[in-house]
Each structure stands twice: as C-alpha cells, then as structure tokens.
C-alpha cells in the first residue's frame, strides 16, 4: 500500500524532461514492441532498462521487483498455455496417461508462451518507463493538452489526491487494530477488516462533507480548474539517443520482411 512508484516518479532524474517527449517515446516503442519479432522486443526491454536504471536513476532492485509482476502472471498461465489434454488417445509417445486422459506438452503452446513472455516484458518496460519517470501531475497536464473530457481529468485528479488521504487512514486504522491485538486469528481478521471497510466508507463521506465546504469557501463554481507554470527542459543528448536508437530498432524490425521481398 505504499505508493513507491509514485514517489520515484516524482524524484527521478528524468523528471524535468517534457512529459510529451517521454510519453511519445514510450508510445512509439509500444507500437513497435507490439508488432516486432522477439529479438527486437528483447532489445527494447534491455534499452529501456538502461534508460530506467542508468538515466532515471531508479534502483535496479525495485525495477527488478516490478518486472516480476508480469513474470508471475506469466508463470501462472504457463501451464494452461502449454499443457494439453487429449481424450482421443496418444498423440505422441511422450504423453502421460491419467485415466482416459492424456496430458501432453503442446508445441504450439510452447511457442505461444515464448511470444507472450517477450511481448509482455517489452510492453511492460514501456509502461514502466512512463510510470517511473513521469509524475502523475504531468500525465494529467498531458491529458488536458490532448483534450480528454474534463470530467475524467477532474475525477482522476481528485482520486489521486484522496487515494493518499484514504490510504493513510486505512494504514493508521490497521496499525491501531494491530496494537490492540487485532488480526490474531482468522475470526479477528474478518471482524477487524469488516470494521475497517465500514469505517473507511464513513470517513470517505466525512471527507466529502469537509472538503466540499473547503472547495465552496474558495469559490467553487462547478469546475475544478487549476493553473500551473511548470517548465520542462528538453535534453538534446537524450533526444538524439531516443531517435537514433528507435530507427535502428525499426530497421531491425522490418528487415525480415524486406528480406522476403
């Protein structure tokens, strides 16, 4: 429940780059990663690891932990992808029989699992690059510039602010319960959690009442508008590397097709 990614995004070394550059770079790689062969996907993942760890200064350990998340999901689905069940008898000699069923390793499944793994790693890297280098306030400003519906931007901004307030509340409540011997067994776990959720809803509405007064007292007129003069500095060195690197990857991606022609 600690919002580590957000605090890294706000302190990382690429924070002052224009968010449109960072997001644009990630989207371009994203599209490339979606359609390119596995080798290029691997190259994208490695290159972005350099950006994230070396240029942005995100601790390698934390980035590794983040990459474990897609990996875990992949591991979880691997059996479903590559294990086949057949009721029609031996497909090939290595199958294992269990009653009338035959389990086998599906060649198609193994290929699929490999493709999915590489794609997931490459695309997750692109997503993480944005998450770890661009603070949420910058993303919101970008969405504003891209003319997303106002109501969505307002809701995102409010949710962002109050997720932190409510998380603090929950953490305090859980700590208080633990200090009074809560969560000792399953029964007390259920009871304590029931209380937490109910209290959380109650406090959510308490916050609503207090904050709406706060908004009104500063002249709320139906819209939540804010102003900011955040300045960004484009970095030529990074721009050159991004563009040059992207072209190399693009060539590598289309090379096999050119060959076929």
């Amino acid at each position: 429940m600690h919002h580590q990614i957000d605090s890294l995004a706000y302190t990382n070394q690429l924070r002052s780059l224009p968010p449109s550059h960072k997001v644009g770079f990630a989207i371009a790689l994203f599209i490339l990663g979606f359609v390119s062969p596995m080798g290029v996907q691997g190259a994208i993942a490695l290159w972005l690891a350099i950006w994230i760890i070396l240029y942005a200064g995100i601790p390698a350990k934390i980035y590794g932990q983040l990459l474990l998340i897609p990996l875990t999901f992949w591991l979880l689905s691997v059996p479903a992808l590559i294990l086949g069940v057949s009721f029609s008898g031996n497909v090939n000699p290595v199958d294992i029989a269990w009653g009338s069923r035959y389990f086998y390793l599906s060649q198609q499944g193994i290929t699929q699992a490999q493709t999915v793994l590489m794609r997931a790693i490459a695309l997750s890297s692109c997503l993480y690059f944005v998450l770890l280098t661009t603070p949420f306030a910058d993303i919101l400003n970008l969405l504003k510039a891209w003319r997303f519906p106002t109501i969505i931007i307002e809701l995102l901004a409010l949710m962002y602010r109050f997720i932190f307030v409510l998380t603090d509340t929950v953490l305090e409540l859980v700590t208080a319960q633990k200090s009074r011997l809560g969560y000792r067994n399953r029964r007390s776990q259920f009871r304590s959690l029931g209380i937490i959720i109910s209290q959380l809803l109650w406090r959510t509405l308490e916050n609503y009442r207090a904050c709406s007064l706060g908004l009104i007292s500063r002249g709320f007129n139906g819209e939540l508008r804010f102003w900011s003069d955040r300045q960004y500095q484009a970095n030529p060195r990074y721009m050159v590397e991004a563009i040059a690197g992207y072209f190399v990857l693009l060539l590598l991606a289309i090379f096999p097709y050119v060959d076929k022609l």
């Binding site: 919002h3 990614i5 957000d6 359609v35 875990t72 999901f73 992949w74 591991l75 979880l76 689905s77 691997v78 059996p79 479903a80 590559i82 294990l83 086949g84 069940v85 497909v91 000699p93 290595v94 294992i96 086998y104 390793l105 599906s106 499944g109 699929q112 794609r119 997931a120 790693i121 695309l123 997503l127 993480y128 949420f136 519906p149 109501i151 969505i152 809701l155 995102l156 409010l158 949710m159 962002y160 602010r161 109050f162 997720i163 998380t167 399953r186 776990q189 259920f190 009871r191 959690l193 029931g194 937490i196 959720i197 109910s198 809803l201 959510t204 509405l205 609503y208 709406s212 139906g222």
Partner: protein, 255 residues
C-alpha cells in the same frame, strides 16, 4: 530415447506444477491481465467492446455533475474508496491472502453505471500506482471488472432485494461480482489462446481451472466480508447511505 523423452516430459510437468504453486502463493492481482499479454487483435477488440459502456457512463456522470457539481467531489472520493478497498488484503477461506475486487459493494453503493467509470479509473490507478494490469489490456480488464462484474452484482442484488432477502442478495452480489470477473477473464484468455486440441473450450477449462483454486475461496470471503460491512452500514450509517443515494438516484432518473 522414448524413455528419456518421457522422463523429460514428466520433469517439465513437475517443474510447471512447481511454478504454478509458487505463482499461486502470490495470486495478488491474478484477475488483471498483464500488459502485453493479449495479441493486438484481442487488445483492440476488448477496447472496442468496453469503450461504449465507458462513454455512456461518462456522459451520464457529466450530466449528473452538471446538475449538482458538488457530486464531482463525492465521485472522486468514491473512486478513491474503491481503489483503497481493492488494495486491502483479505484473508481467503483457504488461508492465503488476496485482494477483493470491491465491485459488488461498489455497485450496490454507487450504482453499476457509476461503477463502470469509477472501476475503469481504479484500473488506471492500479497500473499507475501499483503496476498491476496495463494499458493495452485495460479494455479487457475494464470489461470484466468494471462492466460485467458490477452489472451482474447489481442485477443479483436487485433480484433478491425485491424478494426482501437483503443479506443473501448482498452476499451473492459480492461473491458473484468477484466470481464473474474471474470467469470473464478466463474466457478472454481462452479466446486469445485457444488450445491446439479442443480449441477455446479446452483452453477455457484450463485457465478457469487454474484460477478457480485461488478465486473461488476468495469470492466466498469477499461475500462474507461484504455482509459484515453491510450490516454495519445499515445499523450505523443510514445518513451516509442517504448521501450516496444522491448519485444512484440521479442515475436511475437518467437511465
């Protein structure tokens, strides 16, 4: 040769089972399809399916908040509440811990249309703050978690509410809201990765089977927990429930 490859195959399967046990130990976000998991075609397809629901939800929210701008704040807080709820760890009846979906409680408290928008935004924050789920798979995840889940929960709740069986209604709404989310996710994975023999149905059986072990007990836990919460709210938070009716009530008028 035959014997050797047979042993290899056994070994591979043992390894896979081990992987799966390790994976199951942290099923935390098993119900979010991770970034990059779906092929282009299916990613786009689910975006296209989810988008109309989302747009419809946003438009009705825009109308509600135009009439009563103060509700924006309430909606933002309700969204934050849903996020924090889904980040809590609840004990599953099997002993492990996992996250509730919160779609059942959310749908009953805020209404299913509102939950479509809030649930989708919660998914955005889950990927932004927790790195769970993704952007290409947002369409697919939103369809299972923010559209099918809440509407099923809402339908079930209304059905039992009309028969004056509130508690069963709440339990089933929460449990089914959670369970259906998992079923839809399994279907989505099965469609994207049909098995070589048996096709989509066989594949669905495999995905559903794998996630069932973690998800069914969790659905029951979420149902039980939601009853506890509901009892409390009924007994001590009547004025608060009235406040929430302001978004739900207006939504019904809209639709």
């Amino acid at each position: 040769m035959n014997k050797k490859s047979r042993r290899l195959s056994l070994l591979a399967m043992a390894g896979l089972s081990l992987y799966w046990v390790i994976g199951a130990a942290r099923p935390a976000q098993a119900m979010h399809i991770m970034e990059g998991f779906l092929p282009v075609g299916w990613a786009v397809f689910w975006w296209m399916v989810a988008l109309p629901f989302f747009v419809w939800g946003v438009r009705s929210l825009a109308q509600i908040t135009q009439q009563n701008p103060n509700l924006k704040l309430l909606l933002g807080l309700a969204g934050a509440f849903s996020f924090v709820l889904s980040a809590l760890k609840i004990p599953s009846v099997t002993g492990s811990c996992s996250h509730p979906t919160g779609t059942g409680l959310g749908a009953v408290l805020f209404g299913p249309g509102v939950m479509t928008v809030l649930g989708s935004l919660v998914l955005v924050f889950q990927s932004v703050l927790l790195a769970h789920g993704g952007i290409t798979t947002l369409g697919a995840n939103a369809f299972s978690m923010a559209i099918v889940g809440p509407w099923v929960a809402w339908g079930v709740y209304r059905l039992f509410e009309s028969r004056q069986q509130h508690k069963i209604g709440i339990f089933l709404a929460a449990a089914l809201g959670n369970f259906v989310t998992y079923l839809v996710t399994s279907i989505q994975l099965a469609l994207a990765f049909p098995a070589a023999t048996g096709g989509v149905m066989a594949s669905f059986g495999k995905f559903a089977g794998i996630f069932a072990l973690t998800q069914v007990p969790l659905a029951i836990s979420e149902g039980l927990l939601t009853i506890l919460v509901w009892n409390w709210l009924q007994a001590y938070a009547q004025p608060e429930l009235q406040t929430l009716k302001s978004i739900k009530g207006q939504e019904v008028v809209q639709s």
